[in-house]
Symmetry: C2
Subunit: 315 residues, 2 copies
């Protein structure tokens, strides 16, 4: 038996966080529809607060903490969007977020975390250093650890992005999300199962960080080791909660090259005039590589975030 949020818990999460999150738009582009020969709808989590879907899970988790825990603060290690999201959620709720960030993190994500009042401790860019530094911070502060994806409340929160999609439109043939740690993908798969059961759920992953693809294919957990991809949100391993959900509720995982990711990112910037980070471009890269058939179908693509360093663009 696997452990995951049920239908009522996702509905409750949606109600709980509705006033905190942005109900992000579903955008389309006639030029992309004509290039790909199908109806593409983009769920714009790049417009979410703190610039990524991560805020959904963070706020859903923090508003459920009891007052005693809130006084102790919250803590996590993250190189990116979860850090900024947790810092913003903590500020809104009135607690402190202690964030351990690798010293080589994206400049813009560090600045965002600081601007939301997160208390940052830098560490060496290894999982070992992240975990041991977080342990020290927690011992010092007594803060509650909020894992970026291996947490049921986080998964419930991330599920609300697809929940909003299925509430808004019917007859979605397929929904494609990128996969890193699997929080967004697990939530998306659960929402599809509960609220749009005929919708196929597809994950897209960089070839240079294809641990989820290999885990899914072999039905054995494969960790992410030395991932090489521009998609900085997708370098992490699946978790003990997300892997079983993905095995059970995701229909397919496809992988894409770095060139396709950059080309897909450019296409979205140029045609849709919106800013997405490389991780968000991975599903459209799968269309460019014809790994997903969209002809004549209604396909939803989740654009996971928009936090990108404008001084270091790949084109």
């Amino acid at each position: 038996m696997i452990q995951h949020p049920d239908k009522g818990q996702i509905e409750a999460a949606n109600t709980r966080i509705k006033s905190w999150v942005h109900h992000t738009p579903l955008l389309s582009s006639s030029s992309l529809n004509s290039i790909f020969g199908g109806t593409l709808l983009f769920k714009c989590e790049n417009f979410q607060r703190a610039g990524a879907f991560k805020f959904r899970g963070a706020i859903n988790t923090l508003v459920q903490l009891d007052p005693a825990h809130l006084r102790q603060g919250v803590a996590t290690h993250s190189s990116g969007n979860h850090a900024a999201a947790l810092a913003l959620a903590a500020r809104l709720i009135g607690t402190t977020a202690h964030i351990v960030m690798p010293e080589n993190s994206n400049r813009v994500k560090i600045a965002a975390t600081q601007s939301y009042g997160g208390s940052i401790t830098f560490c060496a860019p290894t999982l070992l250093s992240r975990e041991s530094t977080l342990e020290e911070v927690i011992q010092r502060t007594n803060a509650i650890e909020i894992h970026p994806y291996n947490n049921l409340h986080i998964i419930e929160g991330q599920a609300t992005a697809a929940f909003e999609v299925f509430e808004e439109i019917a007859d979605v043939d397929q929904i494609i999300a990128p996969v890193g740690g699997g929080g967004l993908l697990s939530g998306t798969a659960l929402s599809a199962r509960y609220f749009s059961p005929h919708t196929r759920v597809i994950a897209a992953e960089p070839q240079g960080a294809d641990d989820a693809y290999r885990s899914f294919s072999s039905q054995q957990f494969v960790p992410s080791e030395n991932p090489q991809t521009i998609a900085d949100g997708l370098r992490t391993s699946l978790g003990s909660l997300t892997f079983p959900v993905i095995m059970n509720f995701v229909d397919e995982i496809v992988t894409v090259s770095e060139d396709s990711i950059v080309e897909a990112m450019r296409l979205i910037w140029e045609r849709m005039k919106i800013i997405i980070e490389p991780s968000s471009a991975v599903p459209l890269a799968a269309l460019l590589e014809t790994k997903v058939n969209v002809a004549g179908k209604k396909t939803v693509i989740i654009l996971s975030g928009g936090n990108v360093d404008l001084r270091h663009l790949p084109f």
Copy 2:
């Protein structure tokens, strides 16, 4: 007596082009609202077809041409968004657009014009060369000239952007548009006058291309000579139709520095995660320079377009 579209003509233009244009969203950003201390709403014409408000005027003009004229084709000189918009409108209506473009035009705008099937003739980057080349093209093809802004149907079309704003929201204290040739500004001012008469109409212009500011202040037409600004859509002079409308219906024109334009552009990219071209950033630059007071007010800013060369960004 000045010549300009009346209320019914703008309503009719809106009805006429509704099925051709995108009804663009009005977006807001909580972080920009908190930086500026007021409610800012951005009318996203960067999401318009062909990437700029120019498509409104182009399609409104072309659908009113009679079949004989349509067989002859249409022609214009333009270095930018009017070229692409006219090419797209011509393709949709089933006629040919002959476009004279200065050879130093923005690469992306040339590519867009070509992709919409526009027939481009390049010329030297001077007004004299543009006009004489256009004259040759018209003599050769017998095409009808469609001026980018000094044309009542164009002004009617551009007016529909603000028309949509006033149809969607009430109690707008002020609306700010950039000014180049004055087509968008004239249309915006007329729509405000007819559909939201208590709304102040403010124009923002680069200091390095401040012919509209000087014309407005001196009440005498001042041409744009050797304009120096990154805002490539705002280098042109006012026209004989747009200048009187602006004198009569615009409340104020303010000018801004190049540094503020780049800073405003970066703010919108980073905070709103949308792509705008430098011309679109000019109104927000006026807020950065505190030339417009927005505290406690509801201010609409028209983002005129999003066609920018991603290989040559100013930051």
